[in-house]
Amino acid sequence: MSGPEGTRSSRRSLQVKFVPDEDVLKHIADDAGTKVRKDKAQLSVSMKRLVKKLENISDNEAQEILEEKNYVAALGICAQDPVGNGSNISGGEVYSFQTPKRSSKMAELASELAQTPEQNVAPDHSKCPEKMAKTPQSSSNFMWAEIVWKCNLKKKEFVSTTPYRLRKRLAAPDPYLESESEYSASCSEEEDEEDQKEVSTVLSSQKTLGKTKAASTPPPRNSLAKKIKEEKMGNLVEEYFEAHSSSKVLTSDRTLQKLQKRRLNQQTLHDLLKKAPLAYAAEIRDLNQQHESLFSKWMLQLHLGFNIVLYGLGSKRDLLEKFRTSLLQDSVHLVVNGYFPSITVRSILNSITEEVLDHIGTFRSPLDQLEFIIKRFKEDSSLELYVLIHNLDSQMLRGERSQQILAQLSSLPSIYLIASIDHINAPLMWDQAKLSLYNWLWYETTTFSPYVEETSYENSLLVQQSGSLALSSLMHVLHSLTLNARGIFRLLAQHQLEKKDNPSYPGLSFQDFYQQCREAFLVNSELTLRAQLTEFRDHKLIRTKRGADGVEYLLIPVDGSTLTDFLEKEDEDV
């Protein structure tokens, strides 16, 4: 506000200048020298005015920026937080688009590096035999590329594997690459020495990469370079769509099979990981201790009507488990393993009604059940229940309905909820209404402990599914059936195993199956077989599919190895 006013006043003082007569007389009488001096003064004044104006403008701009940042600043008060929970990072860093590094910035950094090449090889490197990469920001960008490139050197049979984006960036004309050629030359010598080692400088890696790329993939380079020129590191939005529009995926075609690496199954993976020592165990223990000191505070806040949600990297399972064993031993509590793939809200509610409230009976819908629970808890004020939910944001619980029910549950004053979330978008599950029901207090508990339990149920690409879960459930259901029914299932399983090499095997047609069952004296009519199959279907043991010719095909939705195991086990039993 004061800015524009300032300009106006200063301008006015310059325009309306009061010149007394004496001055004018003096001015006329004065010699030429003073005249010049005066002119100069005038000039400098006008200069000053200009400068002042500029200052004003920049002031205004600064003000605007300040106002914009007001909110951020007000909320980002924690900047001076010594204990620091890592929340003093601006959103831009986290949610940024991929901005191409400005070449001038890179040149800056490069020249910096050029001046102090020792910095890259930090003094403590020489001391400790293990080398660590002290790679500054931009250099880390090339880490991936560099590594891949090295792999290429080592294993000549690999095709180029640089990610698309990187290639694009490398292909872009880099002015500083030429200008700083002397430095890169000097670096490439170094690079030879450090061939085995992980660390090498930005420039060397980039340069060599540029070379290899130029050799290996010339056609895309040109077109992309042109594109980049047009864009002029421009529009972020366009960039996003550019990357997402092309259906072509520019990655290498290598597959895990070519790696001659057997797929690990869950058990061997587990054993292998047990062998690997946990890195930074001491530091992680420190972190955990820090969190554990909050336990009593959590208790207090739970009792005051808040619920607690834990976030941060690392499994929070052990932490919650410790909380449970140290403070909840004497009280009624329920632990929900949200990461378990078949958990449902219904099962949570069931365990509350059955185990906690000792209610026998079923409910028509989860909402009825919820109402019943709410009523019971309101009637009996002595009832208290601690609910611990590991991974409230898991696949099964993240649905709107489940969250609504859990939120309503947690809003009861005598139910104390303490939960953990891991997914980056977990907070999006909750709208204002749910948030106010949950009444969260957020606690950052970064533990860095591996998610052992949480990921063990996951269908990881790299892990061979052992199917032990499916097997046990199969066995379980089958054991409750009659001998004939088991025979029927066996028949189907055997047939499916025979055809397991046929990838387009549609299943066993119902008529054929009926014939086989009759021959084995398992059923006497089509009706009994159908009844049996309905039972299987209800337990999700089989799946029926209608083929193109209208024939019904039966299929067991389990993979071959599991079926083999199953048949083996069955044979043992018989």
């Binding site: 620091g84 500054p136 991936w144 990357a243 292998l272 980056i424 591996p450």
Partner: protein, 689 residues
Amino acid sequence: AHDFRSRSDDSEDTELRFITCQSLWNQIKSETEQIQEDLNKQLLDNLVSFLSRSHSQFQEKMTEWTCRMKFREIPTAALVLGVNVTDHDLTFRGLSDVLQDNITPYIALLEAKDCPGIKNLMQKLMGQLMNCDIDVDSLEDEDCVQVSQNRIRCSMSSLISWYESVTKKTDSETPSKKRNSSSRHWQSPPVVVILKDMESFTTKVLQDFIVISSQHIHELPLVLIFGIATSPMIIHRLLPHSVSSLLCIELFQSLSCKEHLSTIIDKLLLTSRFPFKLGEKVLQVLINIFLYHDFSVQNFIKGFQLCIVEHFYSEPLSVLCCQLVDVKKRVYSLSHDQCENIRRLPSFRRYVEKQDSGKQIELLTNDSFLKEETEKLLEDLHVYHENYVSILRCLHVFTSSLPKYPLGKQIRELHCACLENRVWETEEYESSLQLARMLNKTDLVTMLQQCVEILMSSSGKEFDKTVEKLKEFLTQFQNLEAEASQERDVSVSSQKELQKKTDLYHLQKTLLELKESRRSKKLTKFEMLRFEVVDYIDSLVRKYLVPADDRTLHEIMYFNAATVLRGHLNAAPRTALHTALNNPHWYLKNQALKCDGGGISNKAPDICIVYKLHLECGRLINLVDWLEAFSTVVMAAEEPNADAASSDQVDDIIHARFIRAVSELELLGFIKPSKQKTDHVARLTWGGC
């Protein structure tokens, strides 16, 4: 209470602290509820009168009703409540309580999420109505009703027959059973249906419901209440004309949440009733959450509660944060450790440094002397706060009427400014004083009068003189008026002189004289007085509006841990993850992890390396390449002198570690399996290196 005691580090007065905390919170809670009630009173009164009006017509079966019946209009109240949906529950609860007491026992509260179809809506409606029927008619045969409720076909006609039976029953019962409720309700009370969130209902359901019930309006005195979060226009957008013409809508506006907040702040913070105070940053955080996130007064109060709990939990000296009458007792029962705690307070240290050496030694060594001094200081603090509030209000009277509001329109902004630092050193204060020096007389007088009122009503004892002084100003202003009229005479006379016939020379002379006199006088008496007033206010500000941080022992009363508060209420889980993945050193204080710039060391935890590598990729990531890169990094970290042969073969353990890290990233939501290409995963985030 056991929770406070269970803290390990200090056992000082925990129980007392917990009790103080609880009683304070309860006090504040009841206060806020009271405020809420008061603010809603007007609205509820209006609604009640509306309902009784719509009802009375049905009751009397007057011609007016019949004529309305012809048109089949349902009396409807549209309640505009504002966007802070989470606060509405409280309003509705109050509303249904009031209605239950005054108008009708038959109230149904419906929410959109329970009513995806008209059938569910009817089910819910009947369930609620018949349940409340049980409540009124004692619990004779609950089972029977329960069963029947499930069995009754949910239709309007069954609802009507139920209503008839119920009203008849109460009719017959009223004389025999002397009951409060039936005497308060009329003979055939209306059925009130409250739709809590009108916007989220599906139009189909809403339309059907309105059309059906309008058919039966002559049998069932139905009244609708719509809860509206946006604007009344939504009714017409949701309902076509044919349907909305069946409603006889009256609009009710609730108080805006901003006003609600202002009242809350006024009653909770700007008062000396509660010893607990919020520091500037804390208040700022709470207000910002309110303004930028939810507009929810409930959340604000929740934040306030958290502040109280945190303060009493983390500050052992908070035991002294109590009413003035208790201070003496509590100070004298302080243990030695607590005295040491006092000596450790930074504000107290500053205070000690200012004392002469003899007193310094006494303060630092003699517990009982310290206690005396503490008591005195605490009393000072109380007095300071009392004065602060009054003067703050006075200053607000001035600043809130200035153009452009350099110090803010709301008193909370002024309060924040005063708490933050010495307000008289700020530019805004300077400019507002300048503006105040240009106020006209009537404004100035009314402001002074307001100030006098504020100061008179305040409990502070020091203000007698101030009030006197202000009153003196007021009388001076009045005197001015009289003088001004005289002055005008003088000027008129001089004007007259000018009008006399004169020659050029004389004219010039008189004009010059006139100019001279104007220049020398420059300030009229009014202007002088105005300057004096402003200066006086300025002196008051400088004396009383000292920021709380400058006061000794402010730590006991003021809660300042804004970071804690923000972390718990307005957390940023994504940033925490980001930091952990990009800069593990932040959490794991190991030298090996330390590195400058944005890069990470190759000895970082597996997940960080995998994450960093994946950032370099586009939309899809080849798992083989990823694994390759990962093993290169990890092997470089582990065995720098590894020979080429062994590095060729990817170690099983590294493979396993890679698998774990990748599945962890999947759990965190950074990648997901993709079927687009074999052995590829898709990235779910974009950018960020």
